[in-house]
């Protein structure tokens, strides 16, 4: 009996096992939920862009007109500043020394004027007397002529001495201006965003790789939105937009259109590498962040969706 039923029973087990294998094998592994939900745009039709937060003055890299060692930094990151406020000062001891030298040179030349003037007065006096004596034929004509020339020389010397005073004053002023330039001042009202210069460091005049100091007006903050040039035609000036903070889709803010950057620029991919690579060309649109209570920082990236109702 067992032998008779063995094949069919084996077959039934076989089919059962096969079905079990099929069911067990077809179980799909459920996907891990995303760590953060991606942001979802509120518009039906929209252009997406990646935005970077900046100040409304744009971020100003402060430079210095003269190179030199920094002797004093007046502000720190976050300091609110007004136009004309001092930011930092370069070492000016050499200028101060030069000023003293030049001031004493000025005094010297002023004294020289006095000497010249006295000499001239003396010679003029002698000339008057010589004329009288010459009329009396006490001295020769030749002697009188000499006296006359001496007066002319003394007059010229006085003029020279006066000119030297003016020049010495100009030197003093030059040094004073240079002293003023050793103090770097803020060109705008705003906030210090970044300080990369410290007392004792050498500040180079000209464009530096890292700006010495970044300042800008952070109220309100702007977002510079990169939009692929292929999507540029879809944008309207003044179109509303929404920005999402990366990392939490719940944090979002409406944006107000400010302007288009009229010049299309090559986009740099943010690889963090020392050499940035050019990827594609983008239209940049400037929006200002409307929400005042949003905790957002200049330089932060945001996902931006611009309404493109066709």
């Amino acid at each position: 009996m067992i032998r008779k039923y063995l094949p069919p029973v084996l077959a039934v087990f076989g089919i059962g096992f096969a079905i079990w294998t099929v069911i067990a094998g077809n179980k799909e592994i459920p996907p891990l939920p995303p760590v953060v939900d991606p942001s979802a745009p509120p518009y039906k039709s929209f252009v997406a862009g990646s935005g970077i937060v900046e100040t409304n003055t744009e971020n100003i890299s402060i430079g210095t007109c003269i190179s030199g060692v920094v002797s004093e930094v007046y502000v720190s990151v976050g300091t609110k500043i007004k136009t004309g406020d001092s930011l930092f000062k370069l070492d000016d001891r050499d200028l101060k020394a030069q000023l003293e030298v030049r001031q004493s040179a000025l005094r010297e030349s002023e004294a020289e004027v006095k000497v010249s003037r006295a000499t001239l007065a003396d010679l003029k006096d002698q000339l008057v007397r010589a004329k009288i004596l010459a009329g009396k034929r006490v001295i020769s004509d030749d002697e009188l002529e000499r006296r006359r020339y001496a007066v002319e020389v003394a007059e010229a010397k006085l003029i020279k001495a006066r000119t030297e005073v003016v020049s010495a004053m100009a030197y003093v002023n030059e040094t004073k201006v240079n002293l003023e330039r050793a103090i770097v001042r803020s060109p705008v009202d705003g906030e210090v965003l970044q300080v990369k210069i410290h007392t004792g460091e050498y500040a180079l005049a000209g464009i530096t790789e890292t700006p010495l100091m970044l300042i800008g007006n952070a109220e309100p903050l702007n977002v510079r939105v990169d939009v692929d040039e292929n999507d540029a035609w879809r944008l309207r000036a003044g179109a509303p937009a929404v920005a999402f903070l990366r990392g939490n889709r719940e944090i979002q803010t409406p944006l107000k259109f400010v302007r288009f950057e009229p010049f299309i620029v090559p986009k740099k991919s943010l690889t963090g590498d020392s050499v940035e690579r050019v990827d594609t060309r983008v239209l940049q649109v400037i929006y200002s962040i409307e929400r005042k209570d949003l905790q957002v920082f200049a330089g932060q990236q945001m996902d931006v969706y611009i309404d493109a109702a066709d």
């Binding site: 077959a11 096969a18 690579r277």
Partner: protein
């Protein structure tokens, strides 16, 4: 009559078992070979299986299959985001990078760079650590097979120390710290898989102008996926495929440009022919041996229809048993090899396909027998 047919069949034990084993062998061969074939084919898109979150994959229009990496421009993800019906779109980097192991050897790894913000496209199962560990500095997540195998540190005395959380390795001259161990579907080339964030992957990757391999898209509910693909294609000029479509083109690529399907096809056909030969011949012999009794039944008034039904029932019986034993054996095979490099894939369609094959074998086998019986003159019963 059914009863008589079955008793006749089982009564001839040698032939009964012979036919069954012939059919079981054919069924085993067909099922097992097709399962391995399908397994291999599913491995070609194992990466897609592991990344089930997106509905649509956006790639370069020239991409022929999923491992055919033709990077896109960075802003394409923004353009795709701007298409109506797209709920979200994130970028994904995939590339083959060289890892240097502590013992100095090199190993090619598949590096997957996930969108920094959402980490969408991560591995399906994390065994140790967490996906969000990728936010740590220089963090990577390594698949367990790679960590225990190809990426393991082999000491000079031959011991294999698996890669664990906290270990460092070198990816294309950059330092990387293991922050998790995951499990992924085995890939076609069986390279280790390393997950990291997109921006870190671009640091690891060799210098190229474009790096983004895919844009993963989730559709808004209520949007037809193929329509959305069309729209993405039209708006961006990129190729957009639903998950099933890209699986199909991947499999089709491998079918078309590799010899794999031909190889397996030959084996399956061989199994089929062996089945027809063994089972068909034995079955015909069985009918031939019993022709006197079929004649007797025919003389006693059994119609051709009844006799054909008997033959078909016999064929169905051996077919069913042979099929059952065959697929059972194939399943056992797959069960036993579950933890090895062999790939098995048994969808229900495969069971149906091998059932159809066995049914065909039975029909072909019984056809000769049926012909013999229809032609049979009942008068032979009086011949000695």
């Amino acid at each position: 009559m059914n009863f008589i047919a079955l008793k006749m069949l089982i009564g001839d034990r040698a032939k009964y078992l012979g036919i069954i084993f012939g059919l079981a062998f054919a069924s085993l061969l067909i099922t097992q070979q097709m399962a391995i074939f399908l397994g291999l084919m599913t491995r070609t898109y194992g990466f897609l299986t592991d990344t089930p979150q997106p509905d649509i994959w956006v790639v370069d229009p020239k991409v022929q299959y999923i491992d055919d990496l033709k990077p896109l421009r960075e802003t394409d993800v923004l353009r795709v985001r701007g298409v109506e019906g797209v709920a979200w779109a994130v970028r994904l980097y995939k590339g083959l990078l060289k890892a240097r192991l502590p013992n100095g050897t090199f190993q090619n790894c598949i590096v997957v760079g996930l969108d920094d913000e959402t980490l969408i496209g991560g591995p399906p199962v994390i065994l140790e650590g967490e996906l969000s560990n990728l936010r740590h500095n220089d963090a990577i997540i390594v698949d367990n097979v790679g960590a225990d195998g190809k990426l393991a540190n082999v000491t000079p005395d031959g011991r294999r120390i698996p890669l664990r959380i906290g270990d460092t390795m070198e990816l294309n001259d950059h330092r990387a710290i293991v922050a998790g161990i995951c499990r992924v579907t085995r890939t076609f080339q069986s390279q280790p898989v390393v997950y990291t964030t997109y921006s870190r992957a671009t640091v690891f990757a060799p210098r190229e102008r474009k790096l983004m391999s895919f844009v993963l898209v989730k559709a808004n509910p209520g949007y037809d996926l193929s329509e959305l693909c069309q729209r993405i294609r039209k708006t961006t000029g990129l190729a957009a495929y639903t998950k099933d479509e890209i699986k199909t083109i991947t499999v089709r690529y491998y079918m078309k440009y590799t010899g794999i399907p031909v190889n397996f096809g030959i084996t399956v056909i061989l199994g089929f022919i062996v089945g027809v030969a063994i089972a068909g011949q034995t079955f015909y012999n069985f009918t031939q041996d019993n022709i006197r009794y079929f004649g007797t039944l025919k003389a006693m008034g059994a119609s051709d229809f009844m006799l054909l039904k008997m033959v078909l029932l016999q064929a169905a019986m051996v077919g069913g048993i042979g099929y059952g034993m065959g697929v059972g054996a194939a399943s056992t095979f797959s069960f036993l090899s579950g933890r090895t490099e062999l790939s098995f894939c048994m969808p229900w369609q495969l069971l149906v396909a091998s059932a159809v094959a066995i049914a065909l074998i039975c029909i072909i086998s019984s056809f000769l027998s049926m012909w013999r019986i229809v032609k049979l003159e009942p008068a032979i019963v009086f011949k000695t």
